[in-house]
Subunit: 181 residues, 2 copies
């Protein structure tokens, strides 16, 4: 059960933004622009960064749901998601994505872990300033979401099918649920 009185049966962050829509609206707007806004990183790639960071923070709800969204968006290449979650360095993502995921992994530990050489490696494979910026902000944002969801012990479904359905909806974008009564 969640640590505070939220709608029973509503999973993850959804129950929390329904409890406090005043703050929730900005969380949804932020994630919508970061993961669905115009970008030279594909939506599938950005969802993969979110899932990768959430796995490292051991937040099952965010990891499962954003992995599902990423698989949905990768389509025929969806296996890449599980490859990255199992062993990023051995996966078939591009060298640029490996360098960006490496930066995201450093951010997950602590901001200061990101070193000049991590940035240089990403640039070497063609990463731009805005791609580096967005990678850091996506990783930082999921360090927030993960702590919000787990810190209040919100409902985490265990059935993989629930996440598959969730991933399909998330692929279409993020919109605020109605506030709880």
């Amino acid at each position: 059960m969640a640590h505070i009185k939220v709608d029973e049966g509503v999973p993850g962050i959804r129950s929390l933004v329904m409890f406090r829509p005043d703050t929730g609206q900005y969380l949804y707007e932020l994630v919508q622009i970061l993961l669905r806004g115009e970008s030279t990183l594909s939506e599938a790639e950005r969802e993969l960064i979110a899932a990768y960071v959430s796995k490292r923070n051991d937040t099952m709800f965010c990891m499962m749901s954003h992995a599902a969204a990423s698989r949905e968006l990768y389509g025929n290449n969806k296996n890449i998601v599980d490859e990255v979650l199992n062993d990023m360095q051995q996966s078939h993502v591009s060298d640029k994505m490996k360098a960006l995921l490496n930066i995201a992994g450093k951010v997950q530990v602590l901001g200061k872990e990101v070193k000049e050489e991590d940035i240089a490696a990403a640039r070497q494979y063609g990463a731009t300033d805005i791609e580096i910026h967005d990678t850091v902000l996506i990783a930082a944002t999921f360090c927030m979401f993960n702590r919000y969801v787990d810190g209040l012990a919100s409902l985490t479904p265990t059935d993989p099918k629930v996440y598959e359905e969730m991933g399909k909806r998330m692929a279409n974008g993020y919109t605020m649920p109605p506030p709880s009564n």
Copy 2:
């Protein structure tokens, strides 16, 4: 120097939201409602939670600036800020605030570190659901800001006077700076 090309001389998160106002606007709106919106936690207390988490994340810029804002808002009781940053358990904040700061400290580590007994302790001293929610979200939000600021190596002034001035401005609220050219 920052890892990406931001305005030289603009400190901390300000340079980053000027670089990417599309995402920055929601970060500012979020922090404005969390730290300045209507709440039974005082603005000084909420700034103190932000400074406390930032110190634990070793993010000098956020720690110094939010500590300064908290001192400004505590007025004659401003010594309490440094007491908490030096040794929270021995400080003169209320038992309720100690219980909430304890929760914030757990969130800083990882969401799952917040246990039933941490929540029960806060309730015992009168903390409400919304106060517990906001404490967790403020702590999670600063885990994001800290990583954003340090992950991109944004400018961190070292002169305490700079932060004193910043704290005075921040006490009046958070508004977006104009975008960089």
